[in-house]
Symmetry: C2
Subunit: 268 residues, 2 copies
DNA sequence: CTCCAACTCTGTACGTCGTACAGAGTTAAG
DNA sequence: CTTAACTCTGTACGACGTACAGAGTTGGAG
C-alpha cells in the first residue's frame, strides 16, 4: 500500500522499453512473450484490481510463465511502471481530432478556451479510466512516445494566443496539475467507498457523533456553515466533477486576464 | 514503494487517536510509550529517510520496544498514517497570525489576495517540509483537530469577498490542489536527484542522445522550442517554484474575475 | 492480605513482495 | 559438432504488516 516509484534503473534500458527498439534476438529459444504483452497485462490487472495487485508474480501467473521469466523482458518493476504510464498516455484524444461527423472542438485562434478545456477534460477522463496513474510517482518523466505526443498536443492547444514559450509551458503544467489534483480527490473518494462499503454520507453519519462530542461548539463557525453546503453538492449528481470544473473556469479566466494585460501593454 | 492508504480500520478508533481522547488505563503495567511519541517518531523517520522507511519494526526499534508492542497504542499502520497527517497539518501558520513585530499579511477585506496567497504558500512550504505527505492517499480525510483548524483558517482567508458558500469551498479546494500538484512536481524532482545522483541537466544529457536517434526530426516542433525554454527556468534559481507562482497568479486573477462578474450582475 | 481482571509487552509464524543467483534447456552461428 | 547467446526455471533472502498465544505487571475488590 505505498506509492510506486518509476525510473530507478538504467535510463537507456528504460528508454528502449518505452520506444520498443529492442531487436529480435538472433539465438536462443523463441520468446514466449513480448514486453508489450507484459505491459498490457499489467495495465489490465491495475485497472481491474488496483495497482497493489500488480506484482511480478501475478503478471507471470496470468501469462503462464514463471515469475523470474518476466525479467527477460523488463529490467525491473520500476521500468514496467514507466511503460504502463506511457502506454496509458496514448489514450488521450488530442483537441485537434474531429469528433465523428462534427467539427473539431475549438478550431481557430478564438477557440483556445475550448481547446484547453478539452485538454483538461481528457486528463480528468484518463485518470478516472486508470486511477492507478495517480499512484505512480514519476521521479523523472518517462519520455516515451505517448508522453511526448501529449505534451506537443497540449502546447498546440494553447499556442498562438499571445503567451511566451515559458508561459505556455507553465499554463500546460497548471492545467495538468488541476486535472491531477481534482481527479485524485474524486478517485480516492470512489476508492474509499469501494474499500469500506460506506458512502460519503454514511461515513459522515458515523463520524459526526464523535465530533459533536469532542469538538467545542462554535469552534468552526465557517466550517459548520460551508462544509454542509459543499457536501450537498458532492453527494449529488454533479459530484466531485464540480471541483474540477470550478478550477477549470477560474484558470481559463486567469489565463485570459494574462493575455489581455499583455495585449494592453503592447498597444498602450 | 507504493502509496500508503489511510483510514482502513474502525473510524471510531481512528478518531480517538487523532483527538487523543484515550484515558489512562487503570490497571496493568505503566505503558512505556504514548501514541504521541509513536506518531512523533514516525514523522521523524519519514522526514529523514522517506515514507518507505516508516515501518512498524523500525519505529519499535527506535523506541526500544518490540514490534508488536506498537499495536498497543495504535490500531494499525493506516491509523498511524492518519495521525501523522493530522499532526503535520498543525504546522501550517494561518494567515491571521502576526509576523513577529509586523502587521498580519493582508488585513482587511481588500487583502484577500494576500491572505489566499499566504494559504497557498503555507501549503507549498508544508509539502516541502514533509514530502511524504504527498505519498499518503487520504481515502477519507482524517478529521483530526489540525485538519479542521486548517480548513477553518482557509475559509476565513477567503470569506467576505462575495463568494457563495459553495464557491468558498471550491476555491479553497483549488488552492490546495495547486499547492499539492506543483509541490509534487518539485518534490519528485528533488527526490529523483537524491536517488539517482543525477541533476535534471545531467539526466537530460544522458537521455537526449537516445531521443535524437529514435525520434524523427520535426515531430515535436513546439516541444523542441518550448521544452528548452522551460528547462532553463527550472534549472535556474527560481526553479520549480515558478510553476506554483504562475498558477497562483492565474487562480487569483480567475477568482477576482468571478467576484467582479458577480458584483456587476448585482449592480446591473 | 489474596485473587483476578485489566493491561502491557514479547516471540513466533504466515503470507506477501522484488529480485539475486545458479543452472537447465533451446536455438542458430561458426 | 561446438559453443555462444538466449529463454526460462526453482530456490533463496530479507523485508513487510499483523494474527495469535502467552508471559509478566499492576491496581482494585473481597
Amino acid at each position: 500500500m505505498t506509492t510506486e516509484y518509476t525510473g530507478a534503473g538504467d535510463p537507456r534500458r528504460s528508454l528502449e522499453l518505452l520506444w520498443g527498439v529492442r531487436e529480435r534476438p538472433r539465438r536462443g529459444p523463441r520468446p514466449k512473450l513480448t514486453p508489450e504483452r507484459l505491459v498490457g497485462r499489467a495495465i489490465e490487472i491495475a485497472d481491474a484490481d488496483g495497482l497493489e495487485a500488480v506484482s511480478i508474480r501475478r503478471i507471470a501467473d496470468d501469462l503462464g510463465v514463471s515469475p523470474m521469466s518476466v525479467y527477460t523482458y523488463v529490467p525491473g518493476k520500476a521500468e514496467l511502471l514507466d511503460a504502463m504510464l506511457d502506454r496509458a498516455m496514448g489514450e488521450i484524444v488530442p483537441p485537434g481530432d474531429k469528433a465523428p461527423g462534427g467539427r473539431a472542438a475549438g478550431d481557430g485562434a478564438a477557440g483556445w478556451r475550448d481547446r484547453v478545456a478539452h485538454v483538461a477534460r481528457e486528463n480528468w477522463r484518463l485518470y478516472h479510466a486508470h486511477p492507478w496513474l495517480l499512484q505512480v510517482a514519476t521521479a523523472r518523466p518517462p519520455l516515451g512516445p505517448h508522453l511526448l505526443d501529449k505534451y506537443e498536443d497540449e502546447l498546440r492547444a494553447i499556442e498562438g494566443i499571445g503567451l511566451t514559450d515559458l508561459e505556455m509551458d507553465s499554463a500546460v503544467t497548471l492545467i495538468n496539475a488541476l486535472a491531477e489534483s481534482t481527479a485524485r480527490i474524486s478517485v480516492n473518494r470512489a476508492r474509499a467507498e469501494r474499500r469500506t462499503g460506506l458512502t460519503d454520507r454514511e461515513w459522515w453519519e458515523a463520524t459526526a457523533p464523535f465530533l459533536e462530542e469532542h469538538v467545542p461548539p462554535g469552534r468552526y463557525p465557517l466550517g459548520d456553515r460551508v462544509g454542509p453546503a459543499a457536501a450537498e453538492v458532492y453527494d449529488g449528481a454533479v459530484g466531485p466533477e464540480h471541483a474540477f470544473e470550478f478550477g477549470l473556469a477560474r484558470i481559463l479566466d486567469g489565463i485570459e486576464a494574462l493575455i489581455t494585460t499583455r495585449r494592453d501593454q503592447a498597444e498602450g
